[in-house]
Symmetry: C2
Subunit: 235 residues, 2 copies
């Protein structure tokens, strides 16, 4: 399992176009130097956006000072603009997921924080996980479906709770649940916080599926691209 | 240490005025019955908002069904309206603190979530804690002051990072930090998530105070009222 560090291209978003071209050329020049490829270094230095060797040094200084100013030992900016963070539906229709603080992305060991937006009608799978989970609803309306009987063979018919902007709720550890955006027009936007990351999720096809038949989805959707190798089931 | 359960008056916020009066009267009647005070029971039953003994039963049923519908085994509603949650400055000028999910309030064991609003110019103490911490800025502008040199005798001059609406940041475990609302007019509203609750905070008077002189503030401001007895320093 390798750590998913933000790509250099994301860091590039913080630079002006001209700076980025210079930094790219400088990196090319350094790699060429490391490979003792003087011709390539020469080309990167004098034929690209950098016209003099001095520009290489200037660009490197710019990159270095930029990296230092970010003040993060883990390869991502310390204060991050959520609008500029990578988001994706990770193959799930109607979802927009952003990992604000993650185990695989940022080295979190005890908590993970997501910002998720569900388009009208979209929902989470029916699922459970053996961790604490807190929701804060920022925008929109929907329902929480929760089956709290942990002694049955299957979840059974869930209780349904309205959720709404500026509401908060805690999912009891291992309770089977599902969140729906029931609004016809507006998005449902939520902050989700889980403990014990990365999350290990058991998915149910319906509320009558036996607990032992629920399928472990691990790594979960947004963690998949951060795993190089299959992982041992550590549950 | 006792658990801080929400007061019945908070639950009352979910009822209509008439229902609440009936429930209050029903509770009075029950308490009177328990105390074998038949006169008082009679008064609560027939002189108050309830006119017949049937109303007592109806009110109780209403209360019971209401409590059941909340579906929380811990004495608080499952889905809670943040606008109706208790908030206080806990003796700190310019602060409004709401515990959305807490160790002492809600029995959380691994994560705790706060919603905090800092009025213009107000700030946290300079402090550190041995837990993970994630911030999400919902509104306003300010600065994060962070001293990351953990090998010195004291924090030293901190680096200063602008923070702004729709930004997020992670405080490295044990790094000394402070959050300021530097805006002249607008509030700074943040979601704060910590692991290993309840939080054990070491407070510094300034950035040159030696780490070993920092004062442990435990229980922390909003946890104080939930402790009956002094607690052992478990650090």
């Amino acid at each position: 399992m390798r750590r998913c560090l933000p790509k250099i291209s994301q860091l590039g978003a913080f630079l002006h176009e001209e700076e980025r071209l210079q930094v790219d050329a400088a990196i090319t020049a350094i790699l060429a130097l490391q490979q003792r490829d003087i011709h390539k270094m020469w080309a990167a230095t004098f034929l690209g956006p950098m016209k003099t060797f001095l520009s290489v040094l200037e660009s490197l200084e710019c990159l270095l000072s930029f990296a230092t100013s970010l003040e993060s030992s883990k390869g991502f900016p310390l204060v991050r603009n959520i609008n500029e963070l990578p988001q994706s539906n990770y193959g799930r229709e109607g979802l927009s997921h952003i990992t604000l603080a993650g185990s695989l992305l940022h080295g979190m060991k005890e908590i993970e924080v997501w910002l998720q937006t569900f388009s009208p009608g979209s929902r989470t799978p029916i699922h459970r996980h053996s961790c604490e989970e807190v929701f804060i609803v920022l925008k929109g309306n929907g329902t929480l479906h929760l089956a709290s009987d942990v002694h049955g063979r299957y979840p059974g018919h869930p209780k349904v709770f309205p959720i709404f902007a500026n509401s908060t709720f805690i999912i009891p550890v291992n309770d089977v649940h599902q969140v729906w955006n029931t609004d016809n027009n507006a998005d449902l936007q939520i902050v989700v916080i889980v403990s014990r990351p990365p999350v290990k999720v058991f998915i149910y096809e319906d509320w009558l599926m036996p607990h032992i038949a629920a399928r472990l989805k691990y790594p979960y959707y947004w963690d998949e691209e951060c795993f190089d190798t299959p992982v041992r089931d550590e549950l």
